[in-house]
Symmetry: C2
Subunit: 720 residues, 2 copies
């Protein structure tokens, strides 16, 4: 048993205290820019340098190190793998000592910690029916001496595409009523066999992660990513990954290109790509919205479209009241585009959602709930979908909001969806939950945070138990593939999430809970709901929050535990340990450099290229075309700019496109069609270059690199 | 009389020697990157700093300085100008000493030199019927005590747009034969009344700049831009211009935006913009070319399209010979896109013009002269023009090549143009002349450089004298708006252009003449031809060479003397004096940052933003969409990326679009329609915001800033 595990048992309490201290310091520090956080490593730190050189001289554990080296020679430096379908290429191999300049003790400490972190994420993903890479699972099983079986793997369940003639809105095939009873318990939905079971407090036996376990795991992870040896080790591994890719690129770039040139029919243009992060309310570009407003006025000037101070008004009257005429409107007066004024000002950015600064127009054109039942908004979205269908190879995953402000929201939203038949084979729907309980509480719309959670999740579990009570909602949920958590991450609540935190029902103050608190409760509910839905053969939901766009590093930690994949992830730059863990678990990140450029980070400083080179799984997404993009094809604009600024190769671009399909809510059937039959396999075996246009050399490089890093941990932990 | 003018007279010879030394050193230096050139100033130069502080302490000429200050107060610090149409805004005024930290002697020296430089460019522009800013002419007249008259102004003459029903290819209205005789004399076309006049060597009295005058003017300018005080003064002025714009922007950005918001109907999307620099052979994007090749094969597989080793082959046979099938082609195998492999490698870039690396396909699809008489190329261009017509607000100025290799080129090119009726109201044609005499000479296609010039310019002057000998050429020339000079500027010939240089007819070595040599002879011929064409009421040609993309700084000097406007201009960064002169004369620069990004300079290091802020007149252009762009709208892609990376405001973008129209070969009629009736006026009076969407505040800022800088020179030179 390693020193680390012993230590750990002794000091569970001590660690908790430490974690809380770190957490507090992180939340406090975030206003102080350019200061080294507790999670970061500085390259030219003199203390570190001295430590390093000491390690080189007195080797603490020569025997162990030698043993490790010989083991490495066996397992890491195997003859190069013989894939059937990968052309020869030049591999980068490191021969000799591999502990990368840390002492054996530090190496063991780090590997133990990383191993436990991996097992934590594996557990959370399984419980929520979310993805976890097969390669990692196999290595983890190997470490524990278990046999990995493909049957143990879980996969999110998505509704397959509708065939010609099938009606996406038909209610006949809805499953029958289970007659269960659903209740919120401590902020999480629970299902009971009947009312009796409720009284006895005996919910169904659906596994989920309770509050205390979550806190314990979180505290462990906080300590881990703030721990010196782990920081140093992961920092060095990441630097190595970067250099290794640069060498790989230098040696094999032309070979990869050759593969692509010899690949008939497929190029970047007809490789499938998914806009993995886009808000429905801003999914059209500014010019499109402008044209739509003008057209609607030409056709509907005399139609009653709005209620103004209780009085019904026509569109003409509404525009008269706003003292403007749609004919005069331009994209300038529309003023929905983010300019220099929005940089570092999320508040100003949010105001840009109001065309001409008038919230009435936002209501009329960009809301599902208004005097015309969201008809215009539905039409705009269907036009955007039409453009995607015309472009053939592009898909998008728009977010619609559920606020948790009242219990009716789901009914209204699904009513809108069904009424206007807002369906396209090129759109996969997501639900975004804004973290704005504090606003509702201040207006006394909800008594406590628990009610917000109830409003969000109870209707979903009820529709899962009995799809017939609300058929429109049940139909809508078929089309929903996941949940997102959204808001300005740079606002922070100052609340520290710990065992002493109030339970949701007790959270009745106006202050917002912390990011992590939100994340845990969303995750716990989704996981529980997914368990029941899978049992019933229904589609499940992925948890894909906004995370690491700004704010504290701990946000990224909460999502490492809970999210299938995240949007943004910029702050991974601030924690090498977390960045390395995101790499090891191939946790996908939907990046939006154009959005960042308008809000948080200049384009050329975006870590996208760095992440891509190191082997993190990234995709490109537009976030808000209305605010950020200029052309008629926002997703292509996003790719084109990234390609130009970062000098991406075609292989890079196609790899990003492939990532976007993998992480998306597209169904198994669609992924098979777009990526190839074996897409669930990892590495070159899972890639069909004829469909993805990603070079097999690249796939082999990625796969071997990941396996190498995982084997470092495995070899360290293996008992002799 | 100032010290400078005296000195100058004494040392004309001395200066020539100095200029030649500088020239030689500049040509030699260009391989040594990051070294400070003779034209540059370094911000942290200790000698300069010390000089500066000395100047502050012992003021050499207190009386003079005081007088200058009071004069400044009168003329520079007038009450703010009262334009009718400019909203109030906050102006940046400098009160007090204005000689910006140089001694009075240095100030006078610099102002005298700059003044003479301005008069040189004014002379060259007039002689070639090219544009020169009215504001500058007025100030120059003021300095000399002349009265400026609007009638003295020259403007290039362009063919007005064809009205509905008019035939752009009709030959009936061609002017009659003048029965003059044309001959080359020392590399420049000359026109004689008759054969007798030829014998007597008595050409018509058309003014042009002779070789020796050009060399003298050039030598003066070389000395000027290498002269310490001028470098320091202009460097400081440019720094001031930058800071001034930053302050202006900070104070007035919202006011400018307000103007635009209140400007009905017009926004960036429907502001006219011209792609001022694009090569016809690469004017389609890669996807377009791919689609076209596939389509042509579907329709024409059995058509004879090519001659292979003397044998006629069908398209199918050609592709069989190339061992490929168009059905399998992708943009990857097409391989025309510039990737990372082309950076700093112009040679590799040029190879990208061959689809699938096969020059046969370049011949078939991208040449005017081939077995199918350039039919495919004409069709592709007409498709590109169709896209521009659909986009409504976009225009382009494609370049077609005349090599000067043989006397038939014009006939063939204009035959192609007329046969396929390659005309669109959204295209303005330019002729590009590649600087590759050395290749033709090596193959013995031409006996000397003079023959190349003859092949290029003699047919043009002959068609000008008698449009009926070659009606197709005469029609084509109506559509041509200018000449471009193209090739890799970083190759340098090592030849120094001086009075001892061989005349073109004596230039029979294989070595290429220098850039400046090419430029002078192109300019002299164009100027001469323009003189005659204007007399005849024909359209004239602008000289718009590629310049300053790479290579020696002196390229930019040659074009300061001769070009209406240039493409690229990156190297202005290396010479503050030239950069300041480009600013003072508002010499337009068509910049292509995406092209630079693939070839010479990373996007984020592009000086575009800096130039724009300082007030240089820049436009955006695509150069080669086939090689650089990804989307269906290359010009919009170019604007979008610049807007995103440089965070341009809408006003910036519309100002750039307005610049592009101004510098283009669009006719007076079109410019009036696109920019407003008074577009020939400068400053806010010349801007119609309803058409351009450029804020009047911005126009006033630009105008007042230019006037202020010019007045500094004027006040310095004014004798009491």
């Amino acid at each position: 048993m390693s020193q680390f595990v012993m230590q750990e048992k002794k000091s569970a309490e001590h660690m908790r205290a430490f974690a809380e201290k770190v957490f507090a310091s992180d939340a406090k520090d975030e206003d102080v820019r350019d200061e080294v956080s507790m999670f970061d490593v500085v390259d030219d730190c003199p203390i570190l340098n001295e430590e390093q050189s000491n390690h080189c001289h007195h080797d603490d554990n020569l025997e162990k190190r030698k043993k490790m080296m010989s083991r490495a020679r066996e397992s890491l430096m195997d003859d190069k793998p013989a894939y059937l379908s990968v052309p020869d290429f030049q591999r980068v191999a490191i021969i000799g000592d591999f502990a990368t300049g840390v002492t054996m003790d530090d190496f063991e400490l780090a590997c133990n910690g990383l191993h436990r972190a991996l097992t934590i994420r594996e557990k959370y993903m399984k419980l929520a029916i979310q993805r976890f890479p097969r390669t990692v699972s196999q290595i983890l099983a190997g470490i524990d001496g278990r046999t990995w079986k493909v049957e143990d793997e879980v996969h999110p369940v998505f509704t397959p595409p509708y065939k010609a003639g099938e009606d996406p809105f038909e209610t006949k095939t809805l499953p029958e009523n289970l007659n269960y009873v659903a209740r919120m318990r401590d902020g999480v939905v629970h299902v009971y066999k009947d009312a009796q079971a409720v009284d006895k407090n005996e919910p169904l036996d659906l596994p989920f992660v309770d509050f205390n376990t979550f806190i314990d795991d979180m505290n462990f992870l906080i300590s881990l990513i703030a721990q010196g040896p782990t920081k140093t080790y992961t920092h060095r591994r990441l630097k190595f990954l970067m250099s290794k890719f640069n060498v790989h690129e230098m040696l094999n770039e032309m070979e990869e290109l050759k593969e692509l040139k010899n690949n008939p029919h497929r190029d970047f243009y007809n490789s499938r790509k998914v806009d993995t992060h886009i808000h429905a309310a801003a999914c059209m570009n500014q010019k499109h919205l402008l044209r739509f407003i003008k057209k609607s006025y030409r056709e509907d000037a005399d139609r009653v479209v709005h209620k103004l101070n209780g009085k019904e008004v026509t569109m003409k009257e509404l525009f008269d009241y706003l003292k403007m005429h749609p004919y005069d409107l331009t994209v300038d007066s529309l003023d929905v585009h983010a300019g220099r004024q929005t940089f570092q000002r999320f508040d100003k950015f949010n105001a840009k959602y109001n065309p001409v600064g008038a919230s009435e127009l936002r209501d009329l054109y960009m809301k599902t709930e208004n005097h015309i039942d969201g008809e215009y908004f539905a039409t705009i979205i269907k036009e955007v979908a039409g453009d995607l269908e015309d472009a053939r190879y592009q898909y998008a995953e728009p977010r619609l909001s559920i606020y948790g402000c009242n219990a009716n929201e789901w009914t209204k939203l699904s009513g809108w969806f069904n009424k206007h038949r807002v369906h396209s084979s090129h759109l996969k729907w997501m639900i975004q939950v804004p973290r704005i309980y504090d606003i509702f509480r201040a207006k006394n719309f909800v008594p406590h945070f628990g009610k917000t959670l109830e409003n969000i999740f109870l209707p979903v579990i009820e529709a899962t138990i009995n799809p017939h009570t609300n058929p429109e909602l049940s139909i809508f949920l078929r089309h929903v593939t996941g949940f997102d958590s959204v808001d300005d991450e740079s606002k922070h609540s100052g609340h520290m999430f710990c065992t002493k935190s109030p339970k949701p029902d007790e959270w009745d103050i106006v202050k917002n809970p912390s990011y992590t608190y939100y994340i845990y409760y969303m995750y716990a509910n989704i996981a529980y709901i997914n368990q029941l839905r899978r049992q019933r053969g229904m589609n499940t939901f992925q948890f894909r929050p906004h995370c690491g766009e700004a704010g504290a590093v701990t946000h990224l930690l909460a999502c490492f535990m809970t999210a299938d994949n995240i949007s943004h992830g910029l702050n991974l730059k601030k924690s090498p340990a977390l960045q390395y863990l995101y790499f090891l678990t191939q946790l996908p990140i939907a990046m939006s450099p154009l959005s960042n450029n308008s809000l948080f980070l200049e384009y050329s400083k975006n870590p996208l290229l760095e992440f891509l080179k190191k082997g993190l799984v990234i995709s490109l997404s537009t976030d808000d075309p209305m605010q950020f993009h200029f052309t008629r094809e926002p997703l292509m604009e996003e790719y084109a700019i990234a390609a130009q600024v970062f000098k991406l190769s075609t292989c890079d671009m196609c790899e990003i496109a492939r990532n976007s399909v993998l992480m998306s809510g597209l169904s198994i059937e669609e992924k098979t069609h777009f990526l190839g039959e074996d897409f669930l396999k990892e590495g070159p075996a899972g890639n069909d270059i004829r469909k993805t246009n990603v070079a097999q050399i690249r796939m082999a490089y990625r796969y071997e690199t990941l396996t190498y890093e995982l084997n470092l941990i495995k070899n360290c932990l293996k008992t002799d």
